[in-house]
Each structure stands twice: as structure tokens, then as C-alpha cells.
């Protein structure tokens, strides 16, 4: 058994989700190799080499890999990965974009978004947005897998891996990078946040979301919304938590003015602790909340903010 982890990085820093993925890999085997494909990415290599359990860091440092476009990276991962029994990447937007392309190049199926590893060929993954949990067997010679970050702890530091470089490169013209617009918000990204506070139709309008923002600032939280709030035009679509929006699993999820439609619950019910604030005591959200507060949010939120 040989396990390859595809590192996620921006050419200067290794993303934490790589550490969760290494931890998943270490459940399969006591050592893993890490592939760093990028350009001018020595710092990333240095960070990957000190992860505990990493035997080898394979570096493909080439300008052709600068933006890590799948048209260039997938053939590289397939080329290096063909000698491995398992290829793992985080189930981030980067991993989700890349890995099925790798799998198809290797003519194997992929197991997406695993939350547990039962054995070297049996994995657990949510389906129906977490409303059912499937145990799947992969009899593929090479198991291509994406890993849900929140389901695995981060691998520790303290390793000293050997670094080798690969000169395999794909110079392609199918796709070109045009630009990137990364949010400069001080707030964490919704799917990576440890605290999420979301508003629903009860917020009444978009301006009132400022009440959530004030609390989010105090808790270092990301801000989400229910589909009802998005459909009503209060906030943009990318804030939607739910079956067809973002799936989150923070340590603390605070649902404010959200009734708790199935659609929404599917996106947040894996959260460790759920708080619901709603003036309707019969709102279904209270059936999944660890702590419910039946109150008018326009009174409760300012009070909560002042007392945090």
C-alpha cells in the first residue's frame, strides 16, 4: 500500500486542509507521500516536509503549474499517482475540481468527500447532503479519494521528509488563468469557520444582517443565511447554507430567525453545537438545537453582542 496526498497551497503556504488529508492518509498507512505541484513553491515544500508521517515530498515546481489548473495538474497527479494504491486530496473546491479529472485519466472511479475510513478499501461518505450516510467499497486498483476536512484532525508537525523533484510537466493551452478575486473579509471563510452565525427570513431585510455581523466580529465567526433569506434577496447566494448551498460543520452554529427547513438543516446539522434563536417556539430548528432561545431576535441579538 502506498498513499499519495495532493497538497493544497497557494505557492507560499500550505493550506491546513492538507493536514487533515494527511491525517486521513495515515489511517490507511503509517507513512504517506505528499505531492506539491506549483511554481516557486519551496516554502510549501518546507512546510510539507515537517508534517509527521510524511515519508517523501515530491515537488513539481514549474511555471506551467503556477495556477494549478486541472488541465496541467491532473495529468501530473495521474502520472505520479499511478504507482500508488491511494491518492487523496482535500474535498475543497480545488480538490473537487482536480481529482475526478485525475480519476478519469487513470480510468478509475472516485470516492468523494469521505468522512471515515473503515479499511483500505471501505469508506464512509455522506449522501443526500448528509441526510444519509453510505458505506462504500472501492475495488479500483487505485483509489482516488477526496477527504472532508472537518471529519479528520490535523496531522501534527515533527516530521523530516525526504524531498524529491519531478520534472514531469504539461504545457497546455486549453485553459488560461485570467484572474482571482479572493474575499478580503476579516471573517473566516464559511466552510472553514469554527463559528458560523446565520440569519433567515426572520431578519426581515439585508440591512439587519449588521446585527449578525457585530456578533460575528466578536466571535470570529463567518456569516451564513438560509435559502429563504437568499430567495427574499436579503443577502447574496454565496452565503446560503443548505442542501443546495454550502455545507458547514463548525464547532458552533447560531441560527437566527431561521425556521429550520429540511433544506437548511441538511447544510448545518453536522455542527458540533447548534444554537437557535427564534420567536416561534414551534419552529423545527429547535428540534435540532442544543440550546434554544425563544425570543425576538431584535432584542436578543443586541443583548448577546453586548454581553459577549
Amino acid at each position: 500500500m502506498k498513499v499519495l496526498i495532493v497538497a493544497e497551497h497557494d505557492n507560499s503556504s500550505l493550506k491546513a486542509c492538507t493536514l487533515n488529508t494527511v491525517a486521513a492518509g495515515l489511517k490507511l498507512h503509517d507513512q504517506v507521500d505528499v505531492l506539491v505541484a506549483g511554481s516557486d513553491c519551496q516554502q510549501v515544500v518546507d512546510q510539507a516536509a515537517v508534517i509527521q508521517g510524511v515519508d517523501k515530498v515530491i515537488v513539481a515546481d514549474n511555471p506551467a503549474n503556477a495556477h494549478q489548473l486541472p488541465e496541467a495538474i491532473a495529468p501530473l497527479v495521474a502520472h505520479i499517482g499511478k504507482d500508488y494504491s491511494h491518492i487523496l486530496a482535500p474535498a475543497s473546491t480545488t480538490g473537487k475540481n482536480l481529482m475526478p479529472r485525475v480519476a478519469a485519466l487513470l480510468d478509475v472511479g472516485q470516492v468523494s468527500d469521505i468522512i471515515d475510513i473503515k479499511s483500505s478499501d471501505t469508506f464512509v461518505r455522506p449522501i443526500y447532503a448528509g441526510n444519509a450516510i453510505a458505506t462504500v467499497l472501492s475495488e479500483e486498483a487505485i483509489k482516488v479519494i477526496t477527504v472532508r476536512m472537518t471529519a479528520f484532525d490535523e496531522a501534527a508537525e515533527g516530521g523530516n521528509a525526504e524531498v524529491v523533484s519531478s520534472d514531469f510537466v504539461v504545457n497546455q493551452e486549453l485553459s488560461t488563468f485570467v484572474g482571482e478575486d479572493l474575499s478580503v473579509s476579516e471573517r473566516p471563510e464559511l466552510t472553514a469557520a469554527t463559528v458560523v452565525i446565520s440569519g433567515g427570513r426572520g431578519m426581515q431585510n439585508g440591512e439587519n444582517f449588521v446585527l449578525l455581523e457585530k456578533i460575528a466580529d466578536k466571535l470570529g465567526a463567518a456569516i451564513g443565511a438560509s435559502r429563504a433569506a437568499v430567495d427574499a434577496g436579503f443577502v447574496p447566494n454565496d452565503m446560503q447554507v443548505g442542501q443546495t448551498g454550502k455545507i458547514v460543520a463548525p464547532e458552533l452554529y447560531i441560527a437566527v430567525g431561521i425556521s429550520g427547513a429540511i433544506q437548511h438543516l441538511a447544510g448545518m446539522k453536522e455542527s458540533r453545537v447548534i444554537v437557535a434563536i427564534n420567536k416561534d417556539p414551534d419552529a423545527p430548528i429547535f428540534q435540532v438545537a442544543d440550546y434554544g432561545l425563544v425570543a425576538d431576535l431584535f432584542q436578543a441579538l443586541p443583548e448577546l453582542e453586548s454581553k459577549l
Binding site: 475526478p100 478509475v108 468527500d113 450516510i133 462504500v136 467499497l137 488560461t176 446560503q240 454581553k307
Partner: protein, 249 residues
């Protein structure tokens, strides 16, 4: 330009799914089925490209049982020109689906494939990327904006923490995210018109692809149920509980 839009029949997004008592899967009997929401966005985008004069023909294809004709009709009522049903009783997993689509892309001379980023049943998020790999096309996944321009397509993609824009040479594969557009409702005259639009029915065998997979579902279970917690009386009590009991703040 010819656009192919693969669509999938899935359990309606607003239905609460139930696991079968023998843990073999999800109960689908008497369950409301719909076109997968991301697929609907793909159909809408293709129709808009046609309305802008960028596309000549929009073909929808679905792989599944004869019941999938209903979803193909829905797409035709929204404005697609014709449909293809690749009829099979077998559950086609993403690699098989991608292989079938590859044959159709080549046979129909498709310039652009637009499909949902994932289906809300199996949540795999694989078919578009796999099809791109098999055809050798570039891919623009999780699109929130697309612009077709002179042999290329500029796709703005939703990525963790923001957006990325890439330019792809046509032919290409685009997968849709939620923000790409808001699908229209089919008008009654268009629903009537759709009944006359052709749907070709073919089998995977005729296409030359064996529907098979080395990935098998062993067991499906309901997720651990959350039990309702407690109702706190005040903001003060809430903060106290979060600090001392839950230890999350």
C-alpha cells in the same frame, strides 16, 4: 455552436429522504422526483446562450430509467431543442456516465457541455471533470458566470474564499454553481410545445458503453439523529451554557 446539457432525475430537494429499512439505499417509492437543481441551472444557462445568439442548438440528455423522460420534457419546456434518453435500469456511476457522454459529445459534434456541478442525491461532483478528462476538453467547474467569445469561453468559478476566472478554448465542459442564474418557469404554451419536441431513446449498449462500477454501496444508514437540547430562558443563560457546558466560546 451546439450545447449538450446532461441532466439527472433526483429526489426533489424539498423531500425529506428516508433510508430503506434493509439499509440498501434510499426509499424512492412514492417520492417526488425532480430535475436536479444544478442541472436546471445548466439548462437555463444553455437556453440563455441560445437566446443571445451564441448557440444554435441545445440538446438535453439524461441517463436513467424511462421515468427520466419527465425531466427531459421539463428541460424541453424550458427551451431546449431536443432530448436524448440513454435508457438503463442500472445505476450509472460517474465514470460510466462520463463515458456515455463522451460518445454523445463526439457523435453530436458538441462545442460546449454545461452540466450541474453535482447531483443532490449521490453528491459526487465528478461527472463534468471526468468528461473533460476523457474528451481532453478544458473544464470550468462551479461556474457563477460564463461568457462565450470567439472560440473560447470565460468562466468565473466559485472557489473557497472567492472567485477565480479562467479562459477555456472551446470545446469545453462547464459545471454550474448556484449563483450562475435563476432558472425560469416553463410557460404553459412552452409546456405544450415541448410535447412535440423529439426525444431519442438509446441504450448504453448501442452507445458502446458498459454500465459498471468497481465502487459499490455496501450500506446506507440514517445519520446519527440530533436530539433537541434545552430551551434557555435568557441571553445570560445562553452565554453561560456556551461557556461552561458546551465550551465553544
Amino acid at each position: 455552436m451546439k450545447i449538450l446539457v446532461p441532466i439527472k432525475r433526483v429526489v426533489d430537494a424539498y423531500v425529506k429522504v428516508r433510508v430503506k429499512s434493509d439499509n440498501s439505499g434510499i426509499e424512492l417509492t412514492n417520492t417526488k422526483m425532480s430535475i436536479n437543481p444544478f442541472c436546471e441551472i445548466a439548462v437555463e444557462e444553455a437556453i440563455r446562450l441560445k437566446e443571445q445568439g451564441k448557440a444554435d442548438e441545445v440538446i438535453v440528455v439524461s441517463i436513467g430509467t424511462s421515468a427520466s423522460r419527465e425531466q427531459i420534457r421539463t428541460a424541453l419546456a424550458l427551451g431546449a431543442d431536443r432530448g436524448i434518453l440513454v435508457e438503463t435500469e442500472l445505476e450509472a456511476r460517474p465514470l460510466s456516465v462520463a463515458k456515455i457522454l463522451k460518445v454523445l459529445v463526439e457523435k453530436e459534434g458538441i462545442d460546449l457541455v454545461i452540466l450541474g456541478k453535482q447531483s443532490i442525491d449521490s453528491d459526487n461532483n465528478q461527472v463534468g471533470q471526468m468528461l473533460a478528462a476523457l474528451t481532453g476538453f478544458p473544464q470550468g467547474t462551479f461556474a457563477c458566470k460564463v461568457e462565450v467569445d470567439n472560440g473560447s469561453i470565460v468562466v468565473t468559478r466559485e472557489i473557497d474564499g472567492g472567485e477565480q476566472t479562467v479562459s477555456l478554448k472551446l470545446p469545453a465542459v462547464v459545471t454550474t454553481d448556484l449563483r450562475l442564474n435563476e432558472p425560469r418557469y416553463a410557460s404553459l404554451p412552452n409546456i405544450m410545445k415541448a410535447k412535440k419536441k423529439p426525444i431519442d431513446i438509446v441504450s448504453p449498449e448501442e452507445i458502446g458503453v458498459v454500465v459498471e462500477s468497481k465502487i459499490k454501496t455496501l450500506r446506507v444508514e440514517a445519520p446519527p439523529q440530533r436530539t433537541a437540547g434545552i430551551i434557555v430562558a435568557s441571553v445570560d443563560e445562553l452565554i453561560a451554557k456556551l461557556k461552561s457546558e458546551a465550551r465553544v466560546i
